[in-house]
């Protein structure tokens, strides 16, 4: 165990029984919300397809660390996302909408990462992290915000390379 992420369970203080019960309820509500979101998209997305903004074509060269990129507009990204609100498994969270249309520098290209949910190293492609683009930690229904300050993962199809 040489990683702080792997040893995160040692950091935490035990929650009370009622706190855990309350949070289990949140977990259940979140999974229900995901299912409803998926069904809603399955039904309505084909009807609303291509009703948004025009799709801008960017520089097709690969995006690397240090490159400047522009995050596509909300409408463009919504058209790219699948029924689960993700692109090839990379989820687009509500927290990410505020960054749409803005320019950022790529901090790092992500090839491998430790997946906390699966608790193992995972390979990935076409994922980057951007400078100063961090998770706010605000999660609906949770009594407190998460303070971990994680970098958000961006799929390269959501980005346009800026020369």
């Amino acid at each position: 165990m040489f990683c702080q992420l792997k040893s995160i369970s040692y950091l935490q203080k035990e929650n009370s029984y009622f706190n855990n019960l309350w949070q289990s309820r949140i977990k259940f509500l979140c999974s229900m919300k995901k299912r409803i979101f998926y069904l809603k998209n399955r039904i309505f997305k084909p009807l609303l397809a291509n009703s948004g903004a025009s799709f801008m074509e960017g520089d097709s060269s690969p995006i690397n660390g240090g490159d400047w990129v522009k995050i596509r507009s909300t409408m463009e990204i919504k058209n790219i996302l699948d029924d689960r609100g993700a692109t090839k498994g990379c989820a687009f969270t509500p927290d990410m909408y505020k960054y749409c249309g803005k320019n950022y520098r790529v901090y790092k290209k992500v090839d491998n990462f430790y997946d906390e949910v699966k608790q193992k190293m995972c390979k990935c492609k076409d994922i980057v992290v951007l400078e100063d683009v961090l998770c706010s930690g605000k999660l609906r229904l949770f009594p407190t915000t998460c303070d971990r300050n994680c970098f958000l993962f961006w799929h390269t199809s959501w980005l346009l390379k800026v020369s």
Binding site: M1, S7, L11, Q12, K27, D111, D132
Partner: protein, 130 residues
Amino acid sequence: MPINFLNKDKTKGSRFHVGDTIRIRSLEKIQETLDSLCMKDGCLFVEQMSRYCSLEVKIIKVVHSILNEHSYIMYKVRHPLYILEKLICDGHFEGSIHKCDHCCYLLWHEEWIETLQIAGVLNNKYPIKK
């Protein structure tokens, strides 16, 4: 009623605050605080952190709560921890085949940092990784 009605004063219990410039203690002083698992109150002191010892750096966040993504439960930490500007995990670990690109901010225990009277300023905000 706001959603975060249970939210307590997050600054309570922490000796340092966001924006404070601090100095990371020397490796010898930090090692004195560690247990046999290289931890202090459950906070792991990883090898790469020794590179930053005696560095002057700004606090960008005080960590009181963390979300355990595996269980999807929010927990309070045993002791307030600090996230310092620019100090991001490089993902190199002895024995691991692949380098982790998760880019987590390193977590620092209160015992590993000390106050600084004269503010130190670092040049580049992030070292770019290719």
